[in-house]
Subunit: 217 residues, 2 copies
DNA sequence: GTCTATAGATGGATAGAC
DNA sequence: GTCTATCCATCTATAGAC
């Protein structure tokens, strides 16, 4: 993976981003050393400081850039017209495709929030809230038009995002299903979730189960 | 948080587990120092080695113990009779309650898999697969009886687990909803997901969306 | 922009007294 | 079982030559 020593400027910057992404994905922020990063790029460790002021700034830039790309791509893909179901389908297709194409970036943006210093974290969390709101607006619309029967649109938002974002934890390009197939299957599941009334199968209260779990704590 | 110096044996062991859980949850394995851990417990750092051979063994024990508890609690709660819908409802109620009661343990068991050495990871992944299979069996049963219309039960398993496990990322005891309310809402969403056919709202292929996302990469 | 060299701090783990 | 003291490795970040 080592590059030619002496390669300069933009090429090095891009190499650092790529290698950093891979190392963050594999080892995590705290376990990724700048010596490793420099070795992957093919430069000496001190030279990295020509590209960022410190390790934290490097992480923050990587995450913020990804969140900006995500928003831009969503805005380009999302329908502003059509039924709520159509918009939801577009959202799912977009989100699935984006997560399948950038599993590393997506994973880091979830898993390394804890590694951000408070001020930086605040910025990213705000961007994430905006993204959630765009899905929330679709679910709210669907409830107004009667297309969706969700008991709670906020919980629906969180459930759908968790379900879709989980894809980057198991999807493999050489796996059983193509991107299109995954998109189709998840679109079906999300639409069913949003439309269905999902009345309970059993009426008995779940309290005893909770106690059981507590006993084993 | 410091405890009385000189406290011995089982009390210290329990204190180490509790403090370790908190530190792993807050900072992660790589960023958690044994000096921090010892300080939280109220002992000196060297004394920790009376309770584990090294840091890795401590993490592994914590995760393995949690997975064992999870399996035992599920087996105690899961119906072996009844319709697939009833069993699925029980599964969701159990899983939600368990995750709400132990958000830290659950979070660590997902986020620190990367910190396990290969042999240890293998053990945990096998336990996790067993857990997934128990949900998968319910979905398969439902498809055989015609209760469920899932396009792909394996994807259904992954989707449901991601959706439910995401709860520990946002649930707060002092939040808007009680445990019972969260259980009821998620039961409804999961049952709707499993039952619904979820035909697409739009027939057009999603290929252009994928290209759009790629353009912004 | 890259290199070498190093400061300064912190980490996991061990040894031996009590 | 807990303490003190320490070894040795590794880390981020900086300084200055080329």
């Amino acid at each position: 993976m080592a590059r030619i020593a002496g390669s300069s400027g933009p090429r090095t910057e891009e190499a650092i981003r790529r290698a950093g992404l891979q190392l963050l994905y594999t080892h995590g922020y705290a376990a990724m050393s700048l010596r490793q990063l420099a070795a992957e790029v093919g430069i000496q460790q001190g030279s990295l400081y020509n590209y960022f002021r410190n390790k934290q700034e490097f992480l923050f830039d990587l995450i913020r850039t990804h969140m900006q790309d995500l928003h831009a791509a969503l805005d380009a893909a999302l329908l502003r017209e059509g039924s709520a179901a159509e918009r939801l389908q577009r959202f799912v297709e977009f989100h699935v495709a984006y997560h399948i194409e950038r599993p590393q970036q997506v994973f880091i943006c979830y898993s390394e929030l804890r590694s951000l210093e408070p001020d930086n974290l605040e910025v990213i969390v705000a961007m994430r809230r905006d993204y959630e709101r765009k899905l929330g607006a679709i679910l709210d619309l669907g409830r107004e038009t009667g297309e969706f029967q969700l008991a709670d649109t906020r919980m629906g938002t969180l459930a759908i995002l968790a379900m879709l974002s989980g894809i980057c934890n198991w999807y493999r390009p050489d796996g059983r299903l193509s991107t299109d197939a995954v998109q189709a299957i998840f679109t079906g599941m999300v639409l069913a979730l949003a439309r269905g009334e999902g009345e309970a199968a059993v009426q008995a209260p779940p309290a005893p189960l909770t106690r059981l779990a507590a006993r084993l704590r």
